[in-house]
Amino acid sequence: MKTLFTKFIQISALFVILLFAGCAISGVKNPSGVPVTEMKPDERGFVAGTGIESQDIVAVTDKMARSILGIPEIANAKNPPMIVLEPIENNTRFVINKDMFLTRIRAELNSKARGKVRFLARNNMAALERERALKQSGQVTSSSDPNIVEFKGADYFLTGKFEGQHTRTSAGVSDYILYTFQLINARTSEIVWEDSAEIKKQGLEDAVYR
């Protein structure tokens, strides 16, 4: 009885070895895939892409806000310059919420620059004009003469452009994105400031998707 049991165990063990030896994924490189990696260390979940993600928005807008504050046109201005945000041009393969970048730069500047720059709410012009018309018609009260134009003109336009270089091969996916932002003098069309940030990401998905 004991001999039989021992033999059974031995033969079963042999089959277990064969089972592992015949593993179906032999010969496949990185069967579990390679997690997405990027040049800057950051935390991410297993569902991640090589596209524009929240950490990129934060990193890029932080850098741009700091950079804008350092230029003489802003730092040495006697009166806070008026800035209007112009939509960013996205020339990458990634869909983005373009407003998010400029909104965050504006919020950073407004909260940290303490009045060194002012932004004009051009996105709200329709509501502002409606309100002025109500004041002009006397339907609502006004603390100043509503017939005097007080909407301010822009001293600068803040805008940007994103360019991408994308590669997808059997070795994985690689995406390089160049973020550039410019501050343009509204009177002279001069580019008074420009800065850029670059992010490159690579990844290889699980073998079952390749």
Binding site: T3, F8, L14, L18, D206
Partner: protein, 384 residues
């Protein structure tokens, strides 16, 4: 002894058996959108993207743009990511689960179409650069074809990329040139730079997946079919031609081998080897029992042989044939300039010989706004 033998067999069976997520039951009431919506709710997590895909295109054909957008966004949030360390993917690689255990994101031609539809919706909503991003992303999905001459060869995607680049005051000539080089069905015309009405057309039923091989291990495509290959949009005495530029069956079948095919191939080898080994052990055990009095060895061999056969039987090398089955066979495009105003148009589908397929004709209304924004019209010969 018997108890230990039976428990060992049970253990093997337990190890080998795979737990597969099952649907409660599919719903078919005749209303494709609501049926698919209900099936999405009932589907296991791994199949959700498939139902989101199906729903997105049904919604788009019904003119439910916001719903279609939502379904595509839900699907692409996963399908557009790089999936690693996923338990469903691990399961699909394991010996005892078929490929369909993985979370479905679709074969490249299916992912291409998800981005293509999303791009159309971005254009409808006036976000041209995001539309271009989607067309570009769609083209990238096809970039890793085994044979490089079939990589990123969707004509329409390059054409639209260049068209939008031109509309955004960029240089779209490189993309137009690439579109011309890839064109097999029809050479696209030069960009009509003042075009403000875009017609996205689709025709026929796209390819379907099936499996061949003894264990259903070989992924195959049955060709799609279409009675039309060109769409004419007639507005008064003006006719806008929107020919087919891309053939989805061609795209699905020119990808070449997949890494997953290699994994499945190894599963097949394992399944066949363990089965042969099991046969040999059982026959050997029977022979020992007949020719000698050593019943212990005979029983051991037979037990091991049976265990091996159970393992072989539980090995699952089947290919994944889940399919986005309401895709078209052909996709095409046309553009025109129309002054602001309301237009009644008729849409005619023509076959390869230029004859109108009358049953597919349909009237459409086009409203061109005065603000200069593009109008995007989506035309399909399918409603599901």
């Amino acid at each position: 002894m018997k108890a230990s033998f039976i428990s060992s067999l049970l253990f093997v069976v337990l190890v080998c058996s795979c737990t597969t997520a099952k649907y409660q039951s599919l719903v078919y009431t005749g209303d494709p959108y609501n049926d698919a919506l209900e099936n999405l709710k009932r589907a296991p997590q791994k199949d959700k993207v498939l139902w989101e895909y199906k729903l997105s295109v049904i919604a788009l054909r019904k003119g439910l743009i916001e719903e279609s957008k939502q379904h595509l966004d839900n699907a692409l949030s996963l399908a557009g990511s790089i999936i690693t360390n996923d338990k469903n993917a691990r399961k699909a690689r394991s010996l005892f689960s078929g490929e369909s255990a993985k979370t479905f994101i679709g074969e490249p031609y299916e992912r291409v179409m998800a981005y293509y539809y999303r791009g159309i919706i971005y254009w409808m909503q006036g976000e041209l650069d995001n539309a271009r991003a989607c067309f570009r992303n769609a083209q990238i999905q096809d970039a890793d074809a085994e044979n490089k001459s079939y990589a990123s060869d969707y004509v329409l995607l390059d054409y639209l990329d260049g068209f939008i680049t031109t509309k955004l005051n960029g240089d779209g000539s490189m993309y137009y040139k690439r579109a011309l080089e890839s064109a097999r069905l029809t050479k696209p015309p030069p960009y009509l730079t003042n075009a403000n009405v875009m017609f996205f057309v689709e025709m026929g039923e796209g390819p379907k997946k099936f499996a061949t091989g003894e264990y259903g291990q070989e992924l195959r495509f049955s060709p799609g079919k279409s009675s039309a290959k060109k769409v004419l949009i007639k507005i008064g005495d003006k006719t806008i031609i929107a020919p087919a530029y891309d053939d989805l069956t061609y795209q699905a079948t020119t990808r070449g081998g997949r890494v997953m095919d290699h994994i499945i191939g190894n599963k097949v080898v394992f399944k066949e080897s363990t089965d042969t080994l099991g046969n040999a052990a059982v026959i050997g055990g029977a022979a020992v029992a007949l020719t000698s009095k050593n019943n212990d060895v005979a029983l051991g061999l037979i037990a091991a042989g049976l265990a091996s056969k159970i393992i072989a039987s539980a090995t699952n090398p089947s290919a994944d044939i889940r399919c986005w089955d309401n895709l078209p066979q052909y996709i095409g495009f046309g553009a025109a300039y129309l002054p602001p105003g309301q237009y009644s148009a008729s849409v005619e589908f023509q076959n390869d010989s230029g004859e109108t397929v009358k049953k597919l004709s349909q009237p459409i209304q086009i409203l061109v706004p005065a603000d200069g924004k593009d109008v995007v019209v989506f035309v399909s010969d399918s409603k599901n």
